[in-house]
């Protein structure tokens, strides 16, 4: 139990820039990321044996379900009628698609698979997007009463402030730091820095969370090629090994949890991933965590064991999560600056780790990065997925 039946590695990654792509369709976004990943892996599409796609809500945003077949078709994979599967777990759709693909390859069913994540959010106006994003929370007992997704995280933020002394400035430090990182990422939605003053005094969305406490709506796609280690070593000089993978769940509604300043799903998923990898939080050099809101990053770095409960905001203020400090958190810019095309986010996180572990991250390179962790949640933490990657 708690082990993969065989070693699995990532050999290729590809991503579109995240942002508002008025001129690109969902299909075109998927093609661009998919082809980049196959090109990076140096393989032709005829080698692909299965396809996994993480998408949260193509049905609401585009009135189109069954996007697994659509993506298989547009990247030319229907010729061999390969299995094509869509995975949905709100904002964790991408990370969970990666988790499922790992289980597939580790089982021996397939040797080479492509995992993609995509979302097209800009076709609807912003308050409609607010409503669609809220469908990742409990519609009957939260949404119907007027709770938006940011408001549920605001409830966590206010409680965290009350119980642990976290401040509005601590939240702002998360956003400022992630924008510093995003400015070094050519595929990020926002490649510019922001000031503390801008972050603290931004228009309120759900008090105490302002505009700069919230990740944006984005269009985008990310993709990767995953295979068994034997094949990986034949095809690649620098395969990145999956050391551990874990998934956890919790109630859909916040009101059905005893504790709202910690996510049990994250704690459980990370415990499973750490155990499989045989490492602990202190071994992680670089982490991509799910900062859908600034408070989410603070809660995540506590739940993942990087800092003790209540110290997440203070640690961020001390600069311990900045590039090449104690632990580099979100060198890509995170959801805040890289952008957050729901289903694509979990794959973009894995791709950033792969780029970091290969040593190809340029200005945002984490020194001596040899092991990294990705953390992806759905809704308010009803699903959490944690993956740990390492240099072979």
């Amino acid at each position: 139990m708690g082990k993969l039946a065989r070693d699995v590695a990532v050999i290729g990654v590809g991503q579109t820039r995240f942002g508002e792509h008025w001129n690109l369709t969902f299909r075109e976004l998927g093609i661009e990321a998919g082809f980049r990943a196959m090109e990076d892996a140096g393989i032709s599409s005829s080698r692909i044996e299965a396809l996994y796609t993480g998408t949260m809500s193509s049905g609401l945003f585009l009135n189109q379900e069954h996007v697994s077949a659509m993506i298989a078709e547009v990247v030319g994979l229907t010729e061999n009628q390969i299995p094509a599967t869509r995975i949905e777990a709100a904002g964790a759709s991408g990370g969970l698609a990666f988790h499922q693909a790992i289980l597939d390859v580790a089982s021996g069913l397939h040797d080479i698979v492509v995992v993609g994540g995509a979302e097209k959010m800009s076709d609807v106006v912003s308050n409609v997007a607010t409503e669609f994003v809220a469908s990742g929370a409990d519609q009957a007992w939260e949404g119907l009463f007027g709770a938006t997704m940011p408001s549920l995280f605001a409830l966590m933020a206010r409680k965290h402030m009350h119980d642990h002394g976290t401040t509005k400035e601590h939240l702002a430090h998360v956003a400022v730091k992630n924008h510093v990182h995003g400015a070094k990422n050519p595929l990020a939605q926002f490649q510019r820095e922001i000031t503390m003053d801008m972050a603290v005094n931004a228009a309120m969305v759900a008090d105490p969370l302002g505009m700069y406490d919230c990740a944006p709506s984005s269009d985008g796609s990310a993709s990767l090629v995953l295979c068994d280690m034997k094949t990986a070593k034949e095809l690649s000089d620098n395969p990145i090994r999956v050391a551990g993978t874990g998934q956890g769940s919790d109630s859909l509604s916040l009101a059905n949890r005893e504790e709202i300043t910690s996510m049990r799903s994250t704690v459980a998923a990370s415990r499973r991933a750490y155990e499989m990898a045989g490492v602990g939080p202190g071994d992680i050099k670089v982490a991509e965590v799910h900062d859908s809101y600034t408070i989410s990053e603070i809660i995540a770095i506590e739940d993942l064991g990087f800092f003790k409960k209540g110290d997440g905001g203070f640690a961020t203020e001390r600069g311990e999560t900045a590039l090449n400090s104690t632990i580099t958190v979100n060198p890509s810019g995170g959801l805040k600056a890289r952008g957050h095309p729901l289903g694509a986010t979990g794959i973009a996180q894995i791709n950033e780790l792969v780029i970091q572990l290969r040593g190809d991250a340029g200005d945002r390179q984490v020194k001596d990065a040899n092991i990294g962790l990705a953390h992806n949640i759905g809704g308010t933490g009803g699903t959490a997925v944690v993956n740990i990657l390492e240099v072979v």
Binding site: N127, V128, T130, E131, A134, A140, W141, E142, G143, L144, F145, G146, A147, T148, P150, S151, L152, A154, L155, M156, A157, R158, K159, H162, A203, M204, V205, A206, D207, P208, L209, S253, L254, A255, N256, R257, I260
Partner: protein
């Protein structure tokens, strides 16, 4: 949203009806067909329970960017409330200025119109809360 989906939840939304587990004594909102503590042992041992509607604010937020069907009500307050008999609930705090809302303050349930006509094409009614002091 289909009308039946709302009608089915009316006892809970109008009367704050939840579930009492006769095995462990726990009270749960919304209704549940299995006690989260007792699991199978609670089969046949669950009964309807009407919460008093009294509780305490555990956390709250003032929403400025609201759901489309609530956009005429911004800014409005949503709170995470500890119910007197146990369990928690998320609901709006009304009949006060947002600045009067604080963690630790007592609340009681009131019955109100929830929102304007949304995508369901119907107006919804249900519980909200107001400060008791």
């Amino acid at each position: 949203m289909a009308v039946a989906r709302h009608w089915r939840n009316q006892d809970q939304r109008y009367n704050l009806a939840g579930t009492h587990c006769k095995v462990c004594g726990g009270h749960f909102f919304p209704k549940t067909s299995m006690c989260p503590t007792c699991h199978r042992r609670s089969m046949g041992k669950l009964e309807r329970f009407q919460f008093s509607g009294n509780g305490t604010i555990s956390s709250y937020t003032i929403i400025h960017d609201g759901m489309p069907q609530y956009s005429s009500q911004v800014p409005y307050v949503i709170a995470y409330i500890d119910l007197e008999e146990g369990d928690h609930i998320i609901g709006q705090i009304v009949d006060c200025e947002p600045s009067e809302v604080e963690i630790g303050k007592g609340v009681e349930m009131v019955f109100r119109k929830l929102s304007e006509e949304g995508r369901s094409g119907t107006i919804q009614y249900g519980f909200k809360f107001r400060l008791t002091m």
